[in-house]
C-alpha cells in the first residue's frame, strides 16, 4: 500500500462546518484519467484473440471470460425437458421486467428466467435516481449533449437521442405502474418534480424517490410482473448457453434449474438478454457495489453466439464506495450525497476535485490522492473523507429526510454521519460497454435482443448518474415490443449448440485453453461448481437453503 495519512491525523486536520478551498487544478481531466483511472495504463487492456471482435481491446479478466469454453456439451442436454414460448427474457432486474411487461402487453407469451429471484438485481440497489429532462431550464437536447460529453463522445448519438426523448414518457409509464417520485412542493396534481443535478450535467435532471429510487422502482415492477398472467417467472434458473439454429439465428437458451439440478431447453421466437453487468468478477481486483449475480453471463453467451460487442475496456468505478469498515468495502454511498453538496477531503484537509465532475474524473482524482500519499488510512483500508457532517450543518435535516439510505449505511458502519465523515474509495460499479444494439435493442445475431447494462452504445466510455435507470426502461420497453412482433411465428428447424463446436475450433486454432469455462454464474467465493452440482442431482432427496453442493 502507498504511504498514507492516518485517520487520526486526518480527523485533526478536518473540521465539521469548515469550507476548505479547492486545490488549484493543474492537470487537465484527460491527463488525470490517463494517469490514474483503471481503464488506462499498461495492463488495462488486451486484444481479443477469437470471435467477432478479434483484435479489439478488452479488459484482461473479462477477456478470459469471453474467450472461455462452454459450460455444457450435447450430452448434458440430451433428453432435457423442452419448453417453448414466444419471448424468453433472461434476467429479472428492471430491464428484464420492463421488457417482459411490454412484450406481454403486445400479446406475446413470455417466459422470464432469472438466476436468483425476480428483482434481485442492480436496479433494486440503485439509489440516486433516473434522468429525464422535465425542467423548464432543461431540455432533451441538453440531456443528449451531457450524455455524449460525459461518455467522451463514444456513445451512439441515435441511441442517445432516442433514450433522452423517451425520458418523460418512461416516467409517465412508471407512475402508471404505481411508482412514486419526490415532489418539490408536495403537490401531486400539477406540482413540480423534485430535481437534482447529477455530476457532469448542465441542469438538474435527476428524478428520485428519496435515496432508494431503485427499490421503489423494482418493487413496483416486480409486483406488476408477478401479477401479469401472461408472464411465467422462473426463479433460480440461470442461462448456461444459448441455442442456435442452422442459420446461426438465436433459437432459445439452455437454462439450469438450480432447484431441481437439471437442464431445461427453452425454444423461443425471440430471446432477450437482460443479465446486467460484471461487477462480481471484481475486475482489476476492485471491490464492487454490484449485486451477487453480476458475473457477465449474458455478455459471454452473446459473444460466443457471434454478437458484436463494444467498449469492452471501459468500466465505471463509482467514486464513493465504502472503504471502512472492511466488511462493507465496496458498498455504495450514493452520488445523491455529493449531488446535495457533500465534499471530498483528503488527508491534508484539502478539497482536491470538483465533486460534481463526471464520475470517472472524480474516481481518478481519489485514486491519485491515495497513490500520492494524501490518502487516509484506517486499519489497513485506504480512502478519502466524504464530508457528511458539514453537509448536515449546511442543510439541517437533510440526513433525516432525503438521505435515508446514507443514514442506514452509516449505522451499519458504526458511526454517526452528522459527526464523522465516511472513508470512501472507488468501487467497481458499471460496465460502460457491452453488446452492440440497434434502436430496438436487437444484437447483430438475428433473434437476439440485449438490453440494460449488458448492452453498449448508450453511455460511451462513462455513464452519467441516473442514465442507467433510464436506459433499462427506455430500451427494455422498446426491445420487449419489438421481440413481441415475432410472437407466434412457426418455430422451424433444429435448435442446438452447434455454435459451441465452431467456437471450440476457434479457441483451439488460437491456442487458447479449453478447460476454462464460462459464464461463471456466481462469484468465486460462492463456491459453486456446475459440474459438481449436476452430479448431486440423483442424490437430492430433501433440501434446504445452502446445502453443500
Amino acid at each position: 500500500m502507498p504511504s498514507a495519512i492516518t485517520c487520526e491525523d486526518a480527523l485533526r486536520r478536518w473540521r465539521a462546518g469548515a469550507t476548505p478551498t479547492l486545490r488549484t487544478q493543474t492537470t487537465p481531466a484527460a491527463e488525470l484519467l490517463a494517469a490514474c483511472h483503471p481503464d488506462h495504463g499498461p495492463n488495462a487492456r488486451v486484444p481479443l484473440a477469437v470471435g467477432v471482435n478479434r483484435g479489439d481491446a478488452c479488459q484482461p479478466e473479462l477477456a478470459q471470460q469471453l474467450q472461455a469454453n462452454a459450460l455444457i456439451d450435447d450430452v448434458d442436454i440430451a433428453g432435457a425437458q423442452l419448453v417453448t414460448t414466444d419471448v424468453l427474457v433472461i434476467g429479472g432486474g428492471g430491464a428484464g421486467c420492463a421488457a417482459a411487461l411490454t412484450a406481454a402487453e403486445h400479446g406475446a407469451k413470455v417466459l422470464l428466467a432469472t438466476k436468483l429471484r425476480l428483482g434481485d438485481s442492480n436496479t433494486v440497489m440503485a439509489e440516486g435516481g433516473i434522468q429525464a429532462a422535465v425542467g423548464e431550464d432543461d431540455s432533451p437536447q441538453l440531456h443528449f449533449e451531457d450524455t455524449l460529453r460525459a461518455g467522451h463522445f463514444c456513445a451512439e448519438p441515435a441511441l442517445v437521442a432516442q433514450m433522452v426523448l423517451d425520458g418523460p414518457d418512461v416516467v409517465r409509464w412508471l407512475i402508471r405502474l404505481g411508482m412514486a417520485f419526490d415532489l418539490e412542493d408536495g403537490q401531486p396534481l400539477g406540482g413540480k418534480l423534485l430535481r437534482k443535478k447529477p455530476g457532469g450535467a448542465s441542469a438538474a435532471r435527476i428524478l428520485s424517490y428519496r435515496d432508494y429510487t431503485g427499490l421503489e422502482m423494482m418493487r413496483v415492477l416486480r409486483e406488476a410482473v408477478e401479477l401479469d398472467a401472461r408472464i411465467d417467472t422462473w426463479n433460480r434458473c440461470p442461462a448456461v448457453e444459448l441455442l442456435s439454429d442452422e442459420r446461426g439465428r438465436c433459437a432459445g437458451a439452455v437454462l439450469y434449474n438450480l432447484e431441481w439440478r437439471c437442464f431445461v431447453l427453452v425454444r423461443a421466437c425471440a430471446v432477450l438478454l437482460a443479465t446486467g453487468g460484471a461487477g462480481r468478477l471484481h475486475l482489476n481486483r476492485f471491490p464492487t457495489s454490484n449485486h451477487y449475480g453480476a458475473t457477465a453471463d449474458g455478455l459471454v453467451l452473446a459473444y460466443r453466439l457471434g454478437a458484436r460487442l463494444r467498449e469492452l475496456d471501459s468500466f465505471q468505478y463509482h467514486p464513493t464506495g465504502i472503504a471502512y469498515p472492511p466488511h462493507l468495502a465496496g458498498a455504495l454511498v450514493s452520488e445523491a450525497a455529493r449531488s446535495a453538496g457533500a465534499r471530498l477531503i483528503n488527508g491534508e484537509g484539502q478539497r482536491f476535485v470538483d465533486e460534481l465532475a463526471p464520475r470517472d474524473v472524480v474516481a481518478a482524482a481519489i485514486l491519485r490522492e491515495c497513490a500520492e500519499g494524501r490518502g487516509i488510512e484506517r486499519e489497513g483500508q485506504l480512502g478519502v473523507f466524504l464530508d457528511t457532517p458539514t453537509l448536515a450543518l449546511q442543510h439541517p435535516g437533510i440526513l433525516e429526510e432525503r438521505l435515508v439510505t446514507l443514514r442506514h449505511l452509516a449505522r451499519k458502519c458504526g458511526h454517526d454521519p452528522a459527526r464523522e465523515p465516511f472513508l470512501v474509495y472507488p468501487t467497481l460499479h458499471y460496465q460502460n460497454g457491452g453488446v452492440a444494439i440497434d434502436r430496438h435493442g436487437a444484437a447483430s445475431v438475428p433473434g437476439l435482443y440485449c438490453v440494460g447494462e449488458l448492452s453498449g452504445g448508450l453511455h460511451g466510455r462513462n455513464r452519467l448518474m441516473g442514465n442507467a435507470l433510464l436506459d433499462i426502461l427506455s430500451m427494455g420497453r422498446r426491445a420487449g415490443a419489438s421481440a413481441a412482433q415475432s410472437a407466434g411465428r412457426f418455430i422451424a428447424g433444429r435448435a442446438g449448440i452447434g455454435h459451441v463446436y465452431a467456437w471450440q475450433r476457434e479457441l483451439m486454432l488460437a491456442g487458447l485453453p479449453l478447460q476454462r469455462k464460462a459464464p461463471q454464474l456466481f462469484p468465486t467465493y460462492a463456491h459453486f461448481d456446475l459440474r459438481a452440482d449436476v452430479q448431486l442431482a440423483s442424490k437430492t432427496a430433501a433440501r434446504c437453503v445452502g446445502d453443500p453442493r
Binding site: Q141, H291, Y292, H527
Partner: protein, 214 residues
C-alpha cells in the same frame, strides 16, 4: 482480527467478528447460490434468516446481509416461497379514485380480519409498524398506510407471519401503487410530454455541444 464461533444451517463455523451472516457463511467455504442478492445493502429482501442469539430465548427474523455475527449465534435461512393464493388486481383497471377504499376491501378482503397479534411487526426486519399500516388501509387512510411501507423491501416475512393471510407488504404496495397511479400528475412532466408529442423538442445532432470541443 477477532473471531467468533456460531452455527449457520446447523454447521459450526468461525468467522471474523465484523462479518455479516452471509459473509461468515461463504468465508467458511460453504456454497451460497440462493437467498442472496444485494449482499449488504439490505434492499433486496432475499437473505431472510432466523436468528437466535446466545442467552436469548426468542428467535428473530432478520436479513442475513445486514446482521453481524456474534458468539454463540444460531442462524437458519428461510427459503424464499411463492404463496399459492395471490391477491390479484389490474392496476390499469382501477381508474375511479372514489372507489379506492372499496378496492382495498375487494382485493385484500382478509385485511379487515386483522387479529392485532403483532406477528407482522415482530417479523419485520426493518422495524416497520406493519400492523398499523394494515389497519390504516382498512380505515381508508391510504396515504398514511402507504407511508408505513415506505421502506419496505418486500422480503415477505410479514406475509409468512400473518395467521389471517393478509399479505401485509403486498397490501401496502397495492395502496402505494394505487395512490401514485391515480394521483400523481406533475405539472412539469405534463408540459414536457406535451412539448415532445407536438414535436417541439427535437434533437439537433449537429449542435456545437453534440461534438467534442476542438
Amino acid at each position: 482480527m477477532t473471531k467468533v464461533r456460531l452455527s449457520i444451517e446447523g454447521r459450526e463455523l468461525e468467522a471474523p467478528a465484523t462479518s455479516s451472516i452471509l459473509q461468515a457463511y461463504v468465508h467458511a467455504g460453504h456454497t451460497l447460490v440462493e437467498g442472496v442478492g444485494c449482499m449488504g445493502q439490505g434492499v433486496c429482501g432475499s437473505c431472510r434468516v432466523m436468528v437466535r442469539r446466545a442467552g436469548d430465548a426468542e428467535v428473530r427474523t432478520q436479513l442475513a446481509c445486514e446482521t453481524v455475527v456474534e458468539d454463540g449465534m444460531q442462524a437458519a435461512f428461510l427459503d424464499y416461497f411463492t404463496a399459492s393464493v395471490q391477491h390479484v388486481y389490474r392496476l390499469q383497471d382501477i381508474t375511479d379514485s372514489w372507489g379506492a377504499l372499496r378496492q382495498v376491501g375487494q382485493v385484500f378482503p382478509e385485511a379487515a380480519h386483522c387479529r392485532h397479534c403483532g406477528g407482522c411487526d415482530r417479523a419485520c426486519p426493518k422495524g416497520l409498524e406493519v400492523q398499523r399500516g394494515v389497519n390504516l388501509a382498512v380505515e381508508g387512510r391510504l396515504g398514511a398506510a402507504g407511508d408505513v411501507f415506505d421502506e419496505c423491501v418486500m422480503c415477505n416475512l410479514c406475509t409468512l407471519a400473518c395467521p389471517e393471510h393478509i399479505r401485509p407488504n403486498h397490501l401496502g404496495l397495492f395502496v402505494r401503487r394505487m395512490t401514485a397511479s391515480l394521483g400523481l400528475r406533475p405539472g412539469d412532466l405534463l408540459r414536457r410530454l406535451q412539448q415532445i408529442d407536438s414535436g417541439a423538442m427535437g434533437i439537433d445532432f449537429d449542435a456545437p455541444g453534440a461534438r467534442p470541443a476542438r
